[in-house]
Structures are given as C-alpha cells and as structure tokens.
Amino acid sequence: MSTKSAAAAVPDNGIAIKTIGLTKTYPGSSTAAVSALDLTVASGSVYCLLGRNGAGKTTTIRMLTTLLAPSSGTAEVLGVPIEQTRRLRPRIGVALQEVALDLWLTPREQLELALAMAGWRRDERRTRVTDLVEQFGLGTFQHNRIGSLSGGMRRRVDVALAVSHDPQLLFLDEPSSGLDIEGKDEVWNVITSLRREGRTVVLTTHDMEEAVALSDHIGIVKEGQLVSSGPTSELTNRHGVYAYVHAPGEVADATLRRIAESGFTVTDNDHSRKTLKLQLDSANATRIGQLTAILDDHGMGTSRVEVRSTSLRDAFLEATR
C-alpha cells in the first residue's frame, strides 16, 4: 500500500513503514536516485518493490535500513525514525543484493557470531542455529567454509542470517536471485511463515511470479519515483483489459491503419508484427466483432483474438514504459 492516494486504504492495524518525500541524490550526480518517495507499508504485509535495474529500489532499501542517509525527506520504520540507528537496527533483518558473508567462516560460525553480537546466550544460539540450519537446508554444508559453497547456497545462508535474530521487519533485496527451485521454495516458505506470524516483509525482485505469489502490495518504481502501487490484484486490473491478436502472418501497414481508424489503440506489437496488443476500453470493448471483420477483410481471417486482463508483467511494462 503506498502513495498518498493509496494511503487511505491502509487498514488501521498499524503502519510498518512510512516515508514522506524521501529523496536521495548521490554526490556528484545531477539526478536523484530516489525522488520524493511517499511510501506506506502496512504492518504484517508483504510489500514488493518492482523496477528496472537502476530504478532506485536498492537505494530505497538502503535508506530504510539505515545504511544510507537520505538527502531530504523523512522515514519511519516500525515507528522509529531511520536516523535512530541504534534503536532501529536490532528490530530489522536485511539481506542485501550482494551476498554479504564471511567466506572464511562456516555457515554455523557465521550464524553464531551474528547471534552473539545480537546478545543471544550461548545455549539460545545453539538451538536457534540448529533450527536455522534445518529450516534452510544447510545441514550438509554447515561446517564447510562459505567460500566453498555455491552461489545459491550462499544466498540461503544470507537470508538465514537476515532472519536469525527474529526481526520484526525483514528487507530482502532480490532474495531468490541465483537460487535453484528448491532454494527459492525455501525462501518463499520463510517469507510466507513470517507473514503468518504478522511480520512485515519488504522485498525487491525482478521475478513477476515471485511478486504475485508472495506480496500483498506492489509498488512500481521508475527513475526513483513510485509510478504505480496498490494491492497486487488491483494493480493488474487497474491497467485494463487488452485484446491480443495472434495473426498467421505479418500484419500489413494498411491493416494497422484500418484498425487504428476504427478506434482501437495498438499499444504494442512484436518485432515480427504477428502479435498485436490492443487496449480495450468501454468504447471499443464490445466491438471485438468489428476487429475480426477488419482482419477478415485483410485476408487474416484465421487470426486468433484473445481478450484478457493485464498480467503483472503487462502492468509493469505499462508503468515503466
């Protein structure tokens, strides 16, 4: 749930993150990496930030996790201003885009050290680490040096570290990148179980399937600005209904002109010009018959016309165009 317009829809069961005008401009750069971001994330929800590479997702995460000072604007995480790093840091868990591990330690040593630094007693640490090792399928590798583990296995350790101290809010920056199906399932299970416990998760991903499967709310970021946001199901519907024309051959310019003259907007066509995407609105949604007639007239009667709502991918491409 995000932006001022969407904020009204935030249930009154608490707010985990609230930013107002959050902006970050890196020294020496003339453009803002994140620009006047107004974001509201409800407690207990899974919020997904989508955006192309360089859109500002990671910068946003780094500011919210206290690792990067904003240039302007304010942000509160779990009710704590992000400037209060000592108060906030013990309450959040973070798995950054880069797998930040000590390659010379074993997963078990790494987890134990993290928990020791969080103030866990030795006996508590042992129990917790044993649980985490089991939960993330690290049993076989728990005594191997992390440097000898595969990228996917390292990612598992990284996410295990992020949740190790039982944080109230978890930030996961592309948590399943580089993971095999099994590893991805484990990360998804962790996120789902955190959700069940009423904890908040903020994640970034390029995987639309992951975003749809895990998140309650999605925010789409473009050039540092939140360009679209809302509950996952609403977001896809918001971007409308489309007719996809799968033609048997290349669609000629004359056909395209005729379609446009008839009031249809061609929003996309593939390079081979065999698939057309037409936006349907209240004015033309009932005129699919007219469309097929045009195709018939132009010798493309065997075209298949498919009408469907946008997928998240469509919504994403639409929002970031």
Partner: protein, 284 residues
C-alpha cells in the same frame, strides 16, 4: 491491537498490529564486548589464511637476520662501530621490522569487506565503523605476536642482548604493537581513500625504503649527510632508537618515550584522517 486476516489460501493469520512496539528481546553486548567478538572473528579468519598475516612477518625478518648477519658481521670491526656484535646492532631494527611485513593484509581485507557488503551487515548488527577499525588495529597487534616472540628468541640465541630479560621482551613487544598501530594506519588510510584492495598491497615495498632510510642496519656515523637528515624525519628511526635503548648500551628513558610518542602521534594523526574518510565513504 490484534486483528485477524485471511491469507490468499484462506487460512487465518494473526496480525500483531503493535509488533513494532515490541522491543527486541535480547540486549546487544557492550561496545567493548562486541569489538572483542569481532576481533575474535578477524583472528579466526586470519589463521585460516595465515601466509600474508602471520607467516610473512616470521619468515622475512628471520631470513634477513640470517643473511645480513652473515654478510656484514665484520662491519662490527670497523673503528667507530658502537657495538662488538653486528647481530646485536641490527636486532632492534629487525624486531621493529616485523609489524611492517604483511601490514597491508588487514587494510586490503577491510576494502573487500566493504565492497562485499560484509561491513554493512556488521553495521546492521550494531557495530560502528570505529569498532571495526579498533578490531582491525588490535588484530594487527595480535598477528605479529608469534613473529615477535620467534624473532626475539632467535636474536637472543644469536647473542643479541636483552637487558632485563623477560621485561625487555615485554617492552619490545609493546613497542612493536605501538609501531604496528601507527604503521598499519598508513595502509588503512590508503585503503579507505582509494577503496581499492590492491592499493595497500602495492604499498608493501614501502618497508624497504623505511628500513634503509634509518639507522637500523648501519650506524649514522657511517652514512652520508643527506641520509642523516632523512633518518631524522623517518619515524621508524625513532622507534628503532627506543628499541635499542631497551636492549643495550646506556638506558635512555627519553629515547624510549620519544619512540612511543612518535608512534602515538603518527597513529592519532592518521586515524583522525581515516575517521573522516570512513564517515564520508561508509557512514558511522
């Protein structure tokens, strides 16, 4: 406030709306304890890749002692040479050379840790950049201890004098730590300034001019005038003088204090600059 909500699969979940009001159940340890934990981690990792940090500081001074002694021991026969044993003369310089060998190791790994995001993780665990630097400097002192004991032992076997026995050994090790903190700070400064893990490694040969532009291998009376001036500027010379007065000849407390003060001044000046650069680059 506790409310319930249904997941997409229909199962009810409890939403603890006030979860952000719950303070963490565990209290992080004090800054000193967490710095010591971090130091323990550096030692463990250092011992798992011991060549650069632990073995070089033993091998290089040992080889140097054996060869330089064999090649130049007749120098002690020259008129004006202050001692009858060349081994005794070079002993302070060889001991103070130990911190300079492998000095870029810690600085180089710091940059790799910053780049990999490991330092960010430490910061999220409540470890400040000051604590990270403190643990690194303490590690520099620890990594040279085995080399210090071995090289001092070897020199003692080769008749290098230890005026007060174990007391002298302890003071030499303390002086070595002070010089280690000062000299390694130079590498940390270069590392954080360039953010390049190769930069402190490239600086390693600096140990050679620092060694040769000092009285560590040859008394100043045998050296040309311009070199005498350079020796006065070289902080290593003052540290070697302090080590010398600990080991043999007339004991000069001022010389000893000067050695410690020079190391301390170099350390404080460099650390002040490092703090500024680190605060700018990675935050507090």
């Amino acid at each position: 406030m506790i409310t319930t909500e249904a997941l997409r699969d229909g199962s009810p979940v409890a939403i603890n709306a006030d979860i952000h009001d719950v303070a963490p159940t565990h209290q992080p340890p004090s800054a000193v304890v967490s710095t010591l934990m971090l130091l323990g981690r550096y030692v463990k990792v250092g011992l798992r890749q011991p060549v650069f940090g632990f073995i070089f500081p033993i091998v290089f001074p040992t080889v140097l002692v054996i060869f330089v002694r064999a090649m130049f021991q007749r120098v002690a026969d020259l008129p004006g040479f202050p001692l009858t044993s060349y081994t005794a003369y070079i002993a302070p310089g060889m001991i103070m050379l130990i911190p300079m060998i492998g000095s870029g190791y810690g600085a180089s790994t710091l940059i790799e840790e910053i780049r990999s995001g490991f330092v960010d993780r430490l910061r999220l665990q409540g470890i400040s950049s000051r604590q990270i630097l403190a643990a690194k400097i303490a590690f520099e002192a620890i990594r040279i201890m085995p080399a210090g004991v071995i090289v001092i032992g070897l020199l003692a076997l080769l008749d290098a004098p230890l005026r007060a026995g174990l007391g002298t050994v302890c003071m030499l090790l303390l002086l070595m730590c002070a010089w280690s903190a000062a000299y390694s700070s130079l590498f940390y400064f270069v590392a954080v300034r360039t953010m390049n893990p190769q930069a402190p490694v490239a600086l390693l040969p600096l140990a050679l001019p620092v060694l040769f532009i000092s009285q560590a291998l040859m008394p100043t009376v045998f050296l040309p005038g311009w070199l005498k001036l350079a020796i006065q500027i070289n902080p290593f010379s003052h540290v070697v003088s302090a080590a010398s007065t600990l080991m043999y000849g007339h004991f000069d407390a001022m010389l000893l204090a000067k050695g410690f003060l020079v190391a301390a001044a170099m350390f404080i000046a460099l650390q002040a600059v490092i703090r500024i650069v680190v605060a700018r680059r990675i935050g507090a």
